[in-house]
């Protein structure tokens, strides 16, 4: 199924770029329920729907909605279910999307549930790797907050389906959970760990950076030490593979020096764009406009 989504997304790119018109989802309504802010995810879903000729119904501010009066998510879903053909849900609680699917008759697209899952981000990350590098025989390094970063957890699981060789780069206190590493190894992925970007960057095809969150550290000086160590600068790119691609789910703080932006390695802004064709593919598939 992942391959079908990625292939469908590729066909959607000219429409996502506005070079081709489409009315594939004309007459369809997408409800966008974001219980916490996420600008890129929300805007890319909305763009995807508009580019395919569909309409978007936005929940708007939580403070101005019935949720502020104490309505349960289950009730909100049962109501919106009657207004829309599909629902995109972003919620701060883990498992919210699954719960929503139990109360909905229309498809639910999980746009992130707390520290749980963000599957469409994983799909767009995979799509970026496929488009900018290659998924088969991939050597990838993931750097930053690997403990709490749900994007890297899900991406690792997805990469293990393609037999990737994965290097995990993080400070000790932000290591990938042991349970996930065991799962990856069981699935046949080769996993190695290091705390230094320099140790891995010259060997890999893709470097996936994530933001280290300051609030995770009790000691600000410890944060500074770690954050500055896991930082990509133009100087670090001297001996890397010419085809190295650097990805980041954004927003970045200081983990990628702006001098990297102009190099051929920088891929993160295109990665953000790829969210549109991937979400177009998902919407077209779940709404039955494209049959599998």
């Amino acid at each position: 199924m992942i391959d079908i989504i990625l292939e469908t997304a590729e066909g959607m790119e000219p429409i996502a770029l506005g070079k081709q018109k489409s009315d594939l989802l004309s007459g369809k309504v997408l409800a966008v329920l974001f219980f916490e802010p996420s600008t890129r995810t929300r805007m890319s879903f909305e763009t995807a729907m508009y580019r395919l000729g569909g309409d978007v119904l936005n929940l708007g501010s939580i403070d101005a909605s019935s949720i502020a009066k104490g309505e349960t998510l289950a009730d909100t879903i049962r109501v919106v279910d009657g207004y829309a053909d599909a629902i995109v849900l972003r919620h701060p609680k883990e498992g919210a999307a699954l719960l929503a699917s139990e109360f909905s008759t229309v498809p639910i697209l999980n746009a992130g549930d707390g520290a749980g899952h963000h599957p469409t981000q994983t799909l767009l990350d995979l799509y970026t790797i496929k488009r900018e590098s290659h998924l088969e025989g991939l050597r990838i390094a993931l750097a930053g907050d690997l403990k709490y970063g749900r994007t890297v957890h899900s991406l690792c699981y997805a990469l293990s389906l393609y037999g990737a060789d994965i290097t995990l780069i993080s400070p000790m206190e932000l290591r990938m959970p042991e349970e996930i590493i065991k799962d990856l190894e069981k699935r046949g992925a080769k996993v190695t760990e290091t705390n230094s970007i320099e140790n891995a960057i010259n060997e890999v095809d893709v470097l996936y950076m994530t933001r280290i969150q300051k609030e995770r550290f009790l000691d600000p000086t410890e944060y500074e030490r770690v954050a500055n160590k896991l930082k990509i600068t133009p100087e670090l790119l001297t001996n890397v593979k010419s085809e190295l691609k650097i990805l980041h789910p954004l927003p970045r703080v200081n983990e990628i020096h702006t001098g990297v932006d102009e190099t051929a390695h920088a891929c993160y802004f295109r990665q953000a764009f790829y969210g549109v064709p991937v979400r177009m593919a998902l919407l077209a598939l779940v709404l039955g406009a494209i049959e599998v």
């Binding site: 349960t72 998510l73 609680k93 883990e94 919210a96 699954l98 707390g114």
Partner: protein, 154 residues
């Protein structure tokens, strides 16, 4: 049980005897069964009783036969328990508990941010696996419980 032990807890005419409960878990077994609220008959609890394989707990419930669902739940905290259905002072059925592959509404998820711990109209759901030890995985948030399962009983 020998005669001396019978003096402590007398035989029941009809009901269920749950034997070989992991020592210390008898009160949690009662919690799973909703006792005393759901029972009309006398309930006897024997804690730290000597058995062939070490100490164990025993629960005798008069005038009530357990259903499969209740037995499955007991297995989560007392995987070696045996269920004896007593009819007219005789053991009419004796069976071991089976660890279920799925439980609903039995255990609370350990993750405070799990949607099943909010005011939503859903019950907790867990997939159960035995991989060296008993592990429960929350269907909603994916968090595992593998220690002190009794502590999380609803």
């Amino acid at each position: 049980m020998n005669e001396e032990q019978e003096l402590r807890v007398k035989r029941i005419e009809n009901g269920t005897v749950i034997d070989h409960i992991t020592a210390g878990q008898a009160l949690n077994v009662l919690k799973i069964l909703g006792i005393p609220d759901s029972s009309q008959g006398v309930v006897s609890v024997l804690l730290n009783s000597p058995g062939k394989f070490g100490i164990k707990d025993v629960v005798k419930i008069e005038k009530r036969e357990l259903n499969v669902r209740e037995v499955d739940r007991i297995a989560l905290i007392a995987p070696n328990a045996t269920i004896n259905i007593i009819r007219n002072f005789n053991v009419s059925q004796k069976k071991k508990v089976h660890i279920p592959i799925f439980v609903e509404g039995v255990v609370r998820c350990v993750n405070p941010n799990c949607i099943s711990n909010s005011n939503e109209p859903v019950t907790s759901k867990f997939n159960v696996s035995v991989d060296g030890c008993l592990r429960l995985r929350c269907t909603y948030c994916g968090r595992f419980i593998s220690e002190d399962i009794a502590k999380h009983l609803l």
